[in-house]
């Protein structure tokens, strides 16, 4: 299948000016500003095929949004090549924008104080969407996302979930082939997240929309993405399908144990029979045990603990994306 997005050796540097305080430095700041170059994206290369749902994952400040901005024609890379639909997205910005839809979770694309439906109508004019297509799409998407009754509400009166759904409809009003989603599920409740995910999957199934999304939510990745790209400090760490990343990196689960009294790590030596197990002190009564869940079950560890120590409480949690990245590094 054809590559819809191509990125080759892309590098993006931000120049930040450092202002010193003090009266003397005011003039100095203007004449010889101190600047520091910050590499936001470094030597990034990947290709995305039509119909993929790609999760672009990394901790805060890893360069995710910068990449999206470069792909959508807002920012120019310092070096390297970017092609979306075979063309430079910045040089062909207007043309490119007709075929992409973008949702920034943190910023609404809608007009703040007019009803959402009127925002959509304005976008209809901007993208020159025919009347019948417009009606069909609004009807269909609003139905799927269950926002019909909210469309007449000004955006400023909407809840975050309603706003996000309307933003999604707005990004899809011109039937784009690529959908860029920058943290689409941030701050939403579980039910709303589920509905959004189903919606995105349905869109991908029926319209073959390519989706490029960034997220901090492991569930988003698991339910949506058939491919993940892990990045940190602007560099790519991993590119492949989700199963292999899990196979490869998510071997561990976290077991948090609260004891009745203080134990040192040495006192937990009885756990040494379990291979591939890491113990970490969180505070004097709490310990974090990372265990390889493929080698043994949690009940073995817990029963062993109960036998030898005074356990007050314990909880198990999956690794977060941040943990996965730590593993990869």
């Amino acid at each position: 299948m054809e590559n819809i997005i191509e990125i080759m050796n892309v590098r993006k540097i931000y120049r930040t000016y450092q202002k010193k305080s003090g009266l003397k430095n005011i003039i100095k700041n203007i004449i010889y500003p101190d600047f520091k170059d910050f590499i936001a994206v470094d030597d990034m290369s990947f290709f995305i095929r039509k119909g993929d749902i790609v999760g672009y994952i990394g901790p805060n400040g890893a360069g995710k949004s910068t990449t999206i901005k470069m792909l959508t024609g807002i920012l120019m890379p310092n070096s390297g090549m970017i092609k979306v639909f075979g063309k430079d997205p910045l040089e062909y910005r207007k043309e490119n924008s007709k075929h992409i839809g973008v949702v920034f979770g943190q910023k609404s694309q809608l007009w703040w104080d007019i009803p959402a439906i009127e925002s959509l109508e304005l976008l209809k004019g901007i993208y020159k969407v025919p009347d019948c297509d417009f009606k069909d799409r609004v009807e269909k998407y609003a139905d799927m996302l269950q926002v019909k009754e909210f469309l007449n509400l000004p955006v400023r009166q909407m809840s975050l979930g309603q706003r996000m759904k309307c933003d999604l409809i707005a990004a899809l009003i011109h039937d784009p082939s690529i959908l860029f989603l920058d943290e689409p599920t941030i701050g939403l409740d579980v039910a709303t997240k589920d509905r959004l995910r189903e919606f995105i999957l349905e869109l991908n199934r029926t319209k073959k929309v390519t989706v490029f999304l960034t997220t901090h939510d492991m569930q988003d990745v698991e339910k949506l993405c058939n491919r993940v790209i892990l990045i940190n400090h602007g560099r790519m760490l991993y590119d492949g399908d989700l199963e292999s990343v899990k196979e490869k990196y998510i071997r561990y689960r976290n077991l948090k144990v609260v004891f009745n009294k203080t134990y040192s790590i040495d006192e937990l030596k009885f756990l040494k029979d379990f291979q591939d197990l890491r113990i970490q002190n969180l505070d004097d009564k709490t310990m974090l045990i990372q265990y390889n869940y493929k080698l043994y079950s949690v009940t073995d560890i817990v029963s062993c603990l109960l036998k030898n120590t005074e356990v007050a409480d314990f909880s198990i949690k999956d690794l977060e994306i941040e943990d996965v990245i730590k593993e990869v590094c």
Binding site: K69, I74, M76, S97, V102, K107, L122, Y127
Partner: protein
């Protein structure tokens, strides 16, 4: 053509937005009438004692004042919010303009409309025409044509200055403070014929921040206070053009910079 259609569609949305804040409109409306009424009253009180100000009579000054007011009103209605460019750049909402297949400038210009300021526009129009009548000026087709051209020129001058200064935000992130500092200058030009000020000030408001082109020079022509008109017409056209070129240049450079550095 499509751009114009789109502009009006977007402006229509702005009107709806204004309907959401009706009481603020009414309050603003009365506020503007009070401000302008008291300003004219002040000039009247002053000229009651002096009769003329540097060979300008009361009604000539009213004409000068009202021409400025009417241009400012129209400018504020449709273009004042261009200075929001600063907020768009600081908040990163400028990105939104770049994600759509329409010129960012058109999107910026059509973002808002401030109906309240149309009150200034009409007050200025009526005031200026009334003053012209009091000055026994024949309201001919030629005069009206000149009057309308003056208003178009005035709106253009305001918008060109505002636009050029706003573009500075692409580099500094801040530009509104520069605009606020020009308020005093604007008021002086609005209230008095600039001939009463010294040469340096005259130069500033003729070339650097050409607010004088809005009312003073057109008034000279329209009220027949000078013999040779065409010199002034050419001067106005020239400064207008230069400012237009500067604005366009800053905008293009600013966009490039934004593409390079983001917000």
């Amino acid at each position: 053509m499509e751009s114009i259609q789109l502009y009006f569609d977007l402006i229509k949305a702005g009107l709806k937005r204004f309907a959401e804040y009706r009481s603020s409109f009414i309050a603003g409306f009365f506020g503007l009438i009070m401000i302008n009424g008291s300003s004219i009253l002040l000039i009247w009180v002053m000229l009651k004692n002096f009769h003329t100000l540097n060979e300008w009579t009361f009604w000539q000054i009213v004409f000068n004042y009202c021409l400025f007011l009417s241009c400012l009103g129209f400018h504020n209605t449709f273009f004042r919010h261009i200075s929001d460019l600063e907020n768009h750049i600081v908040n990163g909402t400028f990105d939104r303009f770049l994600l759509r297949p329409v010129s960012p400038l058109l999107q910026l210009a059509s973002e808002k409309i401030s109906i309240t300021d149309l009150c200034d526009f009409t007050t200025g129009m009526i005031g200026a025409l009334f003053a012209a009548k009091m000055l026994h000026i024949q309201i001919t087709v030629g005069f009206m044509l000149g009057f309308i051209l003056s208003i178009i020129n005035g709106v253009y001058v305001f918008t060109a200055i505002l636009f050029s200064v706003s573009c500075i935000s692409f580099w500094t992130m801040k530009s509104k403070s520069i605009l606020y500092s020009t308020n005093e200058i604007q008021e002086s030009v609005q209230h008095y014929p600039i001939s009463i000020f010294n040469k340096a000030f005259k130069f500033i408001v003729t070339v650097l921040l050409p607010y004088g082109l809005v009312n003073y020079y057109p008034s000279l022509i329209l009220l027949n206070k000078v013999n040779v008109h065409w010199v002034y017409v050419i001067m106005i056209a020239l400064v207008d053009m230069i400012y237009g070129v500067i604005g366009a240049f800053l905008w293009r450079r600013g966009l490039k910079r934004y593409n390079g550095s983001g917000s």
